[in-house]
Amino acid sequence: NAGVTQTPKFRILKIGQSMTLQCTQDMNHNYMYWYRQDPGMGLKLIYYSVGAGITDKGEVPNGYNVSRSTTEDFPLRLELAAPSQTSVYFCASRPRLAGGEDTQYFGPGTRLTVL
């Protein structure tokens, strides 16, 4: 299994541009997540999905949109990029385990700079 893959690895955007960060998992996990990681701030949840067709906001959803049309893919859309969106973005997935234990599997991240 490739696990969780993210593309691109790096991207520089100009203010006002849009882009989509891609995330794919091949583990047939129900749950998928998007986080952003800023220095000294830990991981903040942007959006998550509990299955195809179902998404919900996390802690910091403003300026982002998501969709989940398949189990495998969970793209994150940035509209009208702003410098405050400069960050490292991580996608993660986890299975729905009967015991409720939450082992999230993370992708390698996308480093985004907005200038």
Binding site: G42, G100, G107
Partner: protein
């Protein structure tokens, strides 16, 4: 509001030392407490986890100590090695919820 408070922000120890990272929480609905390890340029990966019905869990050189009454838990790394240099995140998972709450991370450096 940070649901899981983590300290210290950074930590430097000599090889063989025992770094200790502390986390605290208020929400009594949390019932699963994982620690994640992140190397530079990589995504976090699960290191060890504990449920509040035990006070300690050990896996290799990594130990979680859990104090339910104080709502605190900590990670101890025995005989630390330079290869343990990474950022460590504590996290908490609320009963019946869908997502984790992460601490702010501790950057550990182990000096040879």
């Amino acid at each position: 509001q940070q649901q899981v408070k983590q300290s210290p922000q950074s930590l430097i120890v000599q090889k063989g030392g025992i770094p200790i990272i502390n986390c605290a929480y208020e929400n009594t609905a949390f019932d699963y407490f994982p620690w994640y390890q992140q190397f530079p340029g990589k995504g976090p990966a699960l290191l060890i986890a504990i449920r509040p019905d035990v006070s300690e869990k050990k896996e290799g050189r990594f130990t979680i100590s859990f104090n339910k009454s104080a709502k605190q838990f900590s990670l101890h790394i025995m005989d630390s090695q330079p290869g343990d240099s990474a950022t460590y995140f504590c996290a908490a998972f609320p009963r019946g919820a869908n997502n984790l709450f992460f601490g702010t991370g501790t950057r550990l450096t182990v000096i040879p």
